[in-house]
């Protein structure tokens, strides 16, 4: 057929995400939520981590010191009292220090046993879903769209400047830009790190080689915890970017398709 090319403003469908990708993504969402939520209930039982801020001291001699800001989560974050206007079906009943019943938005303190039960059951879903996803990436050659090339380091700076409106130079049309590639590859590696440090603190006797590899029990727990915080950071930026990019892009993760201009599609297909 030698049809004339459609007008530039006429959008065409571009197949962006495979069905498998979408399943992996949407299964991971609630499972990761449960893992972090139950993980924090476990962390509560020994909530020792603090943020240390560096400062320069001049006495007795010039030196770099660190001061701890902590605890990381204030006490009231663990079981915040629900304001009066929150309807009953959204609150959970708990007890305050005096033993009186109080309405709480959620309750995460003194629930170590609960946290462990949820964590060690749902980790199976997290692990299997994650391992299947990585297997899928390898066999579908989809990894090529995600794994950054060396030049992505410089390119990602451009992406960040562009997103902060500090650069006007348009981004190249690609399935994932360099910053996305670094973020998505990083988050997959973080998932693997979570599983390994998780086993290291879950079975420090049976799998003591792994615990030792991470520098011991408390170091493995430290890495496990701060990687979780990185997950939360990723999540916030990810959701922010999705909202900013708009409905067409978000819908792509549900339907698999995005509407693009024919010239964009030509570039996208050529590069994939």
């Amino acid at each position: 057929l030698t049809d004339a090319p459609p007008e530039p403003d006429q959008k065409v469908l571009y197949r962006k995400h495979a069905l498998a990708t979408r399943w992996f993504h949407w299964i991971n969402f609630p499972v990761l939520f449960i893992m972090i939520w139950s993980g924090l209930m476990i962390y509560w039982a020994n909530s020792v981590f603090v943020i240390r801020l560096p400062y320069l001291a001049f006495e007795p001699h010039l030196a770099l010191h660190f001061t701890a800001i902590g605890p990381l989560f204030p006490d009231k974050w663990w079981s915040p009292t629900a304001p009066g206007w929150v309807p009953d079906f959204l609150v959970t009943m708990g007890q305050n220090d005096a033993g009186a019943n109080v309405r709480q938005l959620y309750s995460m303190d003194a629930r170590l046993a609960d946290g462990m039960a949820w964590h060690f059951v749902f980790v199976w879903l997290f692990a299997i879903n994650g391992l299947l996803y990585v297997t899928f990436l390898i066999f579908s050659r989809e990894w090529k769209a995600i794994v950054p090339k060396p030049r992505a380091v410089l390119e990602s700076i451009h992406v960040v400047l562009y997103d902060l409106h500090l650069s006007k130079k348009p981004l190249p049309v690609r399935k994932y830009n360099a910053a996305q590639q670094i973020a998505y590859t990083g988050v997959i590696l973080m998932g693997g790190l979570m599983l390994l440090t998780g086993i290291a603190i879950y079975k420090p006797s049976e799998q003591s080689w792994l615990t030792r590899l991470f520098g011991g029990y408390s170091v493995a727990r430290f890495i496990h915890f701060w990687t979780t915080m990185c997950f939360l950071g990723f999540f916030l930026i990810h959701v922010g970017q999705v909202i900013k990019t708009g409905w067409n892009n978000f819908r792509g993760m549900i339907t698999g398709y995005e509407l693009v201009t024919p010239s964009e599609k030509a570039q996208l297909v050529e590069k994939s």
Partner: protein, 266 residues
């Protein structure tokens, strides 16, 4: 042909609209599914203070780790310089004053004994002892390295072997699978009690301990005799042992009744 050409660019938008509608339906199914699953979990009956599906999950994990368990795998040991400060967490089951003179270790379920056996501290001190410096893991998420001295459970059980399933004489080393599968250990008052699987109980580093960091056990750390079982969380390392019972029934366990994993293996 011209109508097809006119319509074609629109086709993709139409398709997209159709897919959007369908995806809305899928979203409803998705969120309904998550809500339904969480609601089903939350409404499930409790089993040992945790919802039954999660208890089943913990028992599944127990089977997995039991299969991966090897009685020959020693936990890492440390040297004296790596010992960390002592830490005291719980004294559950030790509310009563310790009666050192009246203290006896009561044994039940011993092969060839039709009545409970009573042992004094003297009997236990007469058995071969050994020392080990191991890491003690609290289920709360911290650990300490301590030096322990006592009698290996395995050595102890050579003298007082458990009942066997077959009724034949017990062989701890060559036929451990013939031993009754569980051990119940309680404090003298019965206020604290733990259940153990036999493979963990006969692990070569499981110890009936009477000395900690070169000094006799203090009362708060479980005098006169406590269990040190490095393949289990601290909650299983019962202080002030009163009774040891070898049994075919899965024993009750203080913390498993409060929602924790019964197996609690490390």
């Amino acid at each position: 042909v011209s109508t097809r050409l006119d319509r074609r660019p629109d086709d993709d938008r139409t398709k997209m609209t159709r897919m959007s509608r369908r995806s809305l339906l899928w979203s409803l199914i998705y969120f309904g599914g998550i809500y339904g699953a969480l609601r089903w979990l939350n409404k499930s009956p409790m089993e040992g203070d945790v919802i039954a599906p999660l208890r089943k999950g913990l028992q599944f994990n127990e089977k997995v780790w039991e299969r991966l368990y090897s009685a020959n795998r020693r936990v890492p040991t440390y040297n004296a310089s790596q010992v960390t400060p002592e830490r005291l967490n719980e004294t559950i089951g030790m509310d009563e004053e310790l009666d050192r003179k009246g203290w006896r270790l009561i044994l039940e379920g011993v092969h060839g004994a039709d009545k409970p056996i009573y042992l004094t501290m003297k009997d236990i001190l007469a058995m071969p002892s050994f020392e080990m410096t191991t890491e003690f893991f609290c289920i709360e998420g911290w650990s300490v390295i301590q030096k322990w001295k006592g009698v290996a459970m395995r050595e102890f059980m050579k003298r007082y072997p458990p009942l066997t399933k077959s009724g034949q004489s017990p062989d701890l080393i060559n036929a451990p699978q013939d031993l009754v599968p569980y051990v119940l250990i309680t404090t003298p008052s019965g206020g604290y009690y733990v259940g153990l699987d036999m493979p963990s109980a006969i692990h070569e580093q499981t110890m009936l301990c009477y000395e900690m960091n070169g000094k006799p056990l203090t009362e708060e750390h479980g005098a006169p005799l406590r269990l040190v079982i490095p393949v289990k969380y601290g909650i299983k390392n019962l202080k002030r042992i009163g009774k040891i019972k070898f049994t075919t029934e899965r024993p009750k366990d203080y913390w498993a009744e409060q929602g924790y994993d019964w197996y609690a293996g490390l």
